[in-house]
């Protein structure tokens, strides 16, 4: 049951992440590199980055219950790992950015990171609203 939940959470994060990275790559590409034309292999980039970003999310997991401070620290580590992944892969493929481009990329990654957690939180909010509605029914049956 617990593994199933983790798997579902991971898949949810993966798909949201893929969508956000696709949009980010589209926007950044159109703004800064409009002359570059990419092949079909470019379609693999978002899911690959999303896969590893989701995988790095393991640092936010813990068997014990974490405090809010611990959660925030672990999320900071998660973000740093993703930043390292993106810059590392780009460096490995010979893409060297100037400081301005690096700054824009780093901020864009952080925006996607926050957006992904934002979407997941909104999903929890929807789930909580549905629960609260059913809770009233449950309580009226029990009274």
């Amino acid at each position: 049951m617990k593994h199933r939940e983790n798997l579902l959470d991971g898949m949810m994060a993966f798909f949201v992440c893929t969508a956000c990275i696709t949009m980010l790559e589209g926007v950044v590409g159109m703004l800064f590199y409009p002359e570059i034309k990419l092949g079909f292999e470019a379609f693999f980039s978002p899911p690959i980055f999303a896969f590893f970003s989701t995988l790095f999310g393991v640092v936010t997991r813990s068997k014990r219950e974490l405090s809010v401070r611990e959660v925030l620290i672990r999320r900071g580590i998660h973000l740093l790992l993703i930043e390292g992944l993106v810059f590392g892969v780009n460096y490995a493929f010979g893409n060297i950015y100037n400081p301005l481009e690096s700054g824009i990329l780093a901020v864009a990654i952080a925006v996607v990171f926050v957006a992904v957690y934002g979407v997941l939180w909104l999903n929890d909010l929807r789930s909580a609203a549905a629960f609260n509605e059913k809770l009233k029914v449950y309580q009226s049956r029990g009274l």
Binding site: E65, A128, K134, Y138, G142
Partner: protein, 152 residues
């Protein structure tokens, strides 16, 4: 359904007998209601006096340093039981585990809201806020939302 009340003399002999053809969800609700209403607990109040109080008044049980406390709207009682015993004994009375150290009363839960890391806050009707940890959130949803949640 016919309902009859017969007066007796001794309080200890009070009982509710349900006669039915089949145990339906409605019968289970009536059973659960009777169990909750009839039940009284006893606990140490202020560490000195043993007092009796209705189970339905308990918002939650909490384990702190090997001791278990029952929190009602007005008082805190130290219980002579373990937390898992409270969870099992009062499961039919709408009590459910929401974290490693807390068993809460679903009937006195006002609402939930999302917290960080897939956890939820439980807002009790007395204004207290408890944490629902990830591993217990799913079970609570299944109890309240029933089959619908199981299918999703």
């Amino acid at each position: 359904m016919k309902v009859s009340i017969r007066k007796i003399r001794k309080k200890e002999e009070e009982q509710v007998i349900i006669e039915c053809v089949e145990i339906t969800s409605q019968i289970r609700d009536i059973h659960s209601y009777c169990m909750t209403k009839g039940m009284e607990l006893s606990g140490l109040s202020g560490g000195q006096h043993m007092q009796r109080f209705p189970l339905e008044d308990v918002y939650y049980f909490e384990a702190v340093d090997e001791k278990v406390f029952a929190y009602t709207g007005k008082q805190v009682y130290e219980m002579k039981m373990r937390l898992y015993e409270a969870e099992h004994a009062y499961g039919e009375n709408h009590f459910v585990r929401c974290s490693k150290s807390v068993v809460l009363n679903l009937m006195l839960l006002d609402s939930i809201s999302p917290a960080l890391n897939g956890r939820f806050f439980a807002h009790m009707k007395n204004g207290e806020k408890l944490m629902i940890s990830r591993q217990y959130a799913q079970k609570i949803k299944q109890i309240v939302m029933g089959e619908e949640e199981n299918e999703t």
